[in-house]
Structures are given as structure tokens and as C-alpha cells.
Symmetry: C2
Subunit: 160 residues, 2 copies
DNA sequence: TCAATATTGGCATTTTATGCCAATGCTGCG
DNA sequence: CGCAGCATTGGCATAAAATGCCAATATTGA
């Protein structure tokens, strides 16, 4: 694994919350001068520790007030896993999709405008896809926690 | 809802993928000069359409190779919902937590280093929390799709 | 304690952000 | 169809930030 010292962790921690800080602001936040701050940042990007910078939008402000988790079961005999994975990439309502152990089904997280929209997605898109044998939807009542920040504490031992 | 024209949508679309573009680069990407680009961007931030900028880290590079979804059932008689929601905020392994309709339970997405770490989390943290009566874990085999980008197509009608 | 190596801080230069104003494009009304 | 009024853009000047370089400082191991 990549060597990350305390200063690197500070950088990562700050940028996980404020990804568009200028180098100057970042430097101030981590208590280091701009030059080495920038060098470290470039290294973290280079090494791929920082995978991407993104703007997070407020779903409600763009008319996406509803959210659901959908469990999709595929007919195992059809060997359509790759095709399904491919199709998922093209469905913008699907924000995440994971292949799950155990039942070997898929868990999708879906955002949508209203029930009509969701209904269309399930009926016209999901259920039309070859190999999809069943779909179980659970609606989100409330987002209790929603973060993109990964924990870093496990790296902050002696000088890891 | 906030008025967003075609140009605003282009800005949002670009920044959902590359959140740290300079204003100059953003302007070029959306084919507009820097001045109005910056004005629009500030407005989108001001209005709260853009909620936050973040750096996304590569889990594997920081030793977080495993992921699971955990369904948590609370004893409804104990009225501990708020306390649970509060506690979740302080558990860094929990990346998202949603209250679900139907069974009225919680669905957590959890990242961790190894099974020992996960085991500790479940035994020492989750199951120790008052009101937690049951926990069902499903491990992620594969992340098929993982995006923070919300769909914008539904806003791109005539001139909405 | 000293030498070798890695890291930092500060400065000069290039690039970018930002505020302002005139020019351009759009809208609605006569 | 043309014009007035409003909104948006482009470009320029100034302020701020990024970036590369080098000497100074800190760290490591013997």
C-alpha cells in the first residue's frame, strides 16, 4: 500500500470535505506552506489515492426528491451478468449497483422524480431487460447519513 | 424549483465529473467565456444546487477493500430512532444510512479493511447499541456502478 | 555527532480569478 | 416589423493563486 504520513492524511481528510479548496487554502488548513502542500497533493493524485474530484448536487433542488433501493434477481441460467452490468451503466437513475454475495443478486440505488418516473423505470427498463426475473423495491424514508468520505483513522497509527 | 437553462446543465454535468476544473477549463468545456461561466457557477453554489465539492478516494489504496450492506432492525418500542441516527454519524465505517419504508429498518453501507474489522464493528459497535435487535449483513462481491452524478436529463426539456 | 537524504519555505514567473463596463442578444409591446 | 428595455455576454485590468526553483531545515542511520 502507498505510504501516507500524518500530513497526507490531513490533506485527504480536508479534501474529502472541501474538494475545491485552493492550494493556498489547503496549505493553511493543514498547517504547511503552499509548495510542499502542492507537491504532496500532486503525488496523491498521481498515485491514485485521490481518484476523482466531483461536485455533489442537491437532489431536491433538481427535482429528484425520491430514492429507492432495488434488488434485482437475474436468471442464473442465462449468463447475462455482463450484459446487465453494461446496461446499468446507461441508466442514469441508477446511482450505484453492487453484485451481492449470497443470493448473488444485484442491489441498485435509484433516484427519481416521482412514482410515475420510478414506475416507468421498473416496468419499461428493468423488467424489460433480458434475464431479469424479479425486482424488489424498498423506498427510502429518510437519509440518515450520506457521505463520500472514507474513514482514515486506521492509517493513522505510529507513522503509517 | 430553480431555473436552470441548458448552459447551467452543462456546467453541472461537467462538474459532476470533474469538480476541480479551473474556471478557465470549465468555461472552455461548456463553450462560454470565463466571465459568465464564473457568474453562473457562483449562482449555482449560492442557490445550493451544488451542495459540496469533494475528493473521492480509492478505497483499495487506503486499505478498505471490503464493503457490505447491513440491515439493522431496531426495537420499535424503545423509540431510540434519534439516538441511533446520532450514533451512526460517529461511526466512520458507515458511509450511508437510510431509513427504509416497509419494515421500517435501516440500511447501512459499510466499508472496512478485513473481516476482523467488520466483525468488531458489528459485535462491538452495532450490536452494543441500545435498541438494535437484529442485524443482517450482505457482502459486496463487486461494484458494478458507483457514481455521485445525478441524472439531469429530466431538466433538459424545452428551456427549463 | 556527523553525513547523507528527504522535505520544507520563500521567491520569481506564469496562470487564473474576479470585478467592471461596453457590446450583444432576447423579449414583449406598439 | 421595429424599437425599447432587460438580461447576458466578452474582454480588459487588477488581484490572487499556482508552479518551478533553490537555499535552508529537518530527519535518518551510522
Amino acid at each position: 500500500m502507498i505510504e501516507l504520513d500524518k500530513t497526507d492524511l490531513k490533506i485527504l481528510s480536508v479534501l474529502q470535505q472541501e474538494g475545491r479548496l485552493s492550494n493556498l487554502e489547503l496549505a493553511e488548513a493543514i498547517n504547511l506552506s503552499p509548495s510542499p502542500t502542492l507537491r504532496r497533493l500532486k503525488r496523491l493524485e498521481q498515485e491514485g489515492v485521490i481518484a476523482q474530484y466531483v461536485a455533489l448536487l442537491e437532489p431536491a433542488k433538481i427535482g429528484l426528491g425520491l430514492e429507492a433501493f432495488v434488488r434485482v434477481m437475474l436468471d442464473k441460467r442465462e449468463r447475462q451478468f455482463a450484459a446487465f452490468a453494461q446496461a446499468v451503466q446507461g441508466w442514469p437513475e441508477v446511482v450505484t449497483c453492487h453484485a451481492m454475495a449470497g443470493e448473488m443478486d444485484y442491489l441498485l440505488r435509484v433516484v427519481f422524480e416521482d412514482l410515475a418516473h420510478f414506475s416507468r423505470f421498473v416496468m419499461d427498463t428493468l423488467l424489460q431487460h433480458p434475464g431479469v426475473v424479479d425486482v424488489k423495491s424498498s423506498f427510502v424514508l429518510q437519509a440518515i447519513k450520506q457521505t463520500t468520505a472514507l474513514p482514515l483513522a486506521h492509517l493513522a497509527r505510529p507513522q503509517g
